[in-house]
Amino acid sequence: MQIQNVFKPKRLSFWESLNAWIFVFPWILGFFLFTGGPILASLVISFTHWDIVNPPQWAGLTNYETMFSDPLFFQSLKVTTIYALVAVPLQIVVGLFIAILLNTKIRLIGLYRTLFYLPAVLPIVSVAVMWRWILSRDWGLVNWFLSLFGVYGPGWLSEPEWALPALILMSLWGVGAGMLIYLAGLQGIPTDLYEAAKVDGAGRWAQFLYVTLPMISPVILFQLVVGLIAAFQVFAQPFIMTQGGPQNATLFYLLHLFRNAFEFFRMGYASALSWVLFMYIAILTLLIFRFSAAWVFYEGEVRNE
């Protein structure tokens, strides 16, 4: 597993271990004081029927069994998985592409960077109407563009098969935040590596493949894992743009979970849903880490082997 790498120490230094534990101690304390309790509570609640305001009633595995007969559970799992599988790689590629462009030294670059970051700070509520217009079947910008090629575009938000792609498209306007992380990562690449590559006759594409990509791979790993976790917890976009419709085509997992928790007063079931989601993401993350050894390059790791 990737996270077990970096070095395989033969002997652990007591002093180093002690320091490490001191450094992570705030987190540990915070976990016991604030984070861990509520998480554990939600696990316990998932084995109960809880309407939020009355004492929970023990339910054993009922909530977990209920899921198998809940068609909306499977629907929301499907919607969210498709979203994650498509949107996350897209966001990574687009984000990296923009970051590389914005890492060049040309005029007005500071302005460009600011502009690309801008949509990330605008709350979705205030731009929802604009998106409705852009994605409109009859008056929309997207369909106008398609019509230049003789294509009559669909009702992006109103047709079940197009609503999810529309939300994926929308999510790309948020890559500005992820772009920052790439930019920071690109700063860490020593320029002498490029010089060396150039001496070896590498063109720009080769430099990207053999210098930039490996050097930034830990950041890509980060974006992949964090992006995946975020994708499985998307709530605001479908809530505001489609309310899960049409015909549950954008019923994201958290929308289903939210309704059960706060509208149907089934917090027990919602907790069970969240723990199933938790297992699902955790397994995916473990798999990503396990296979990351093949493509993620840590400078420190190499030097120690």
Partner: protein
């Protein structure tokens, strides 16, 4: 591909005289086109902020307001004590930056660069805390803070920040620290540098970009998040900007034009801040394995 990660500024200045650098031109074209697309949401907000209440609903939207409703700005900004909200937001941002950058970077350092038993298990537990949706921990957490008597104060939003509650940042710091050359660290250790000194004198100076990114993220979050602040800060005197904006959203009488005007007022400072900060974290702080 215009610039494959290779900073174009590595090119010698003299080449400019030789003629047009087509790669730069291409970069400009792509960036310009992208900027137009990415600027659109803001233009939309700006234009709506200058429309009268009746014009807001025109569809498809017209980007140039007719007439211009300049009074939306004074109307929006005097409708609520935005100065108080602004100060509260800044206070929270400063407190959270202080707490989170310090505690998360220390934890990230331990996970990335120190050797100790239980490290990977613990790190995975840190990550796992990200995977439980807040919807189901919201109420237990609220009950906890209610029992502590912290509800109604900044404490539930500030104090956990000092305990590295944000696993996302711990992970981010770890990833960045991991890319740093190990020999840098080893040579410092050989020179008799303590671990604290190592963190302070080697890691922090070489990781300014990531600290800047984390700071920006915290500010951005603090500017936009409303669920947790809303639940804990029930007193208007403690409201943040995001909570203030929500007050323009109502069931029957949403004052969209005022909401947009206030949004511009709220977003502009963070954009200006970003504009100046980006120079700082983009500035080539290049550490190399051989720099020592």
């Amino acid at each position: 591909m215009t610039a494959a990660g290779q900073p174009l500024h590595a090119k010698r200045k003299g080449s400019r005289a030789a003629g047009i650098d087509w790669v730069k031109v291409l970069a400009h074209i792509i960036l310009l086109a992208g900027s137009v697309m990415f600027l659109m949401p803001f233009i939309y907000v700006l234009s709506t902020s200058l429309k009268t209440a009746g014009d807001v609903y025109t569809f498809p939207p017209e980007f140039i307001p007719d007439p211009f409703a300049w009074e939306n700005y004074p109307d929006a900004l005097t409708a609520m004590p935005f100065d108080v909200f602004f100060i509260n937001t800044i206070l929270l941002a400063v407190g959270r930056i202080a707490g989170l950058t310090l505690s998360c970077s220390l934890a990230g350092f331990a996970f990335a660069k120190l050797r100790w038993r239980g490290r990977n298990t613990l790190f995975f537990i840190v990550l796992l805390t990200l995977m439980i949706p807040t919807e189901v921990t919201l109420i237990p957490r609220y009950i906890l803070f209610a029992k502590l008597g912290w509800v109604g104060s900044f404490a539930p939003l500030l104090v956990p920040g000092f305990f590295a509650e944000n696993a996302f940042f711990v992970f981010l710091f770890r990833q960045f620290f991991m890319t740093m050359g190990q020999d840098l660290i080893d040579s410092a250790r050989i020179d008799g540098c303590s671990f604290v000194g190592l963190f302070w004198r080697i890691i922090v100076p070489n990781a300014k970009p990531v600290f800047a990114v984390v700071a920006i993220y915290i500010i951005q979050n603090n500017w936009n998040s409303f669920l947790l602040p809303m639940i804990y800060l029930t007193d208007r005197a403690k409201y943040t900007l995001a909570l203030g904006l929500r007050l323009f959203n109502e069931q029957y009488y949403s004052q969209t034009h005022l909401l947009m005007a206030a949004s511009v007022f709220v977003v502009v400072p963070i954009v200006i801040l970003f504009f100046f900060m980006q120079r700082y974290f983009i500035q080539g702080v290049v550490f190399t394995g051989s720099k020592g």
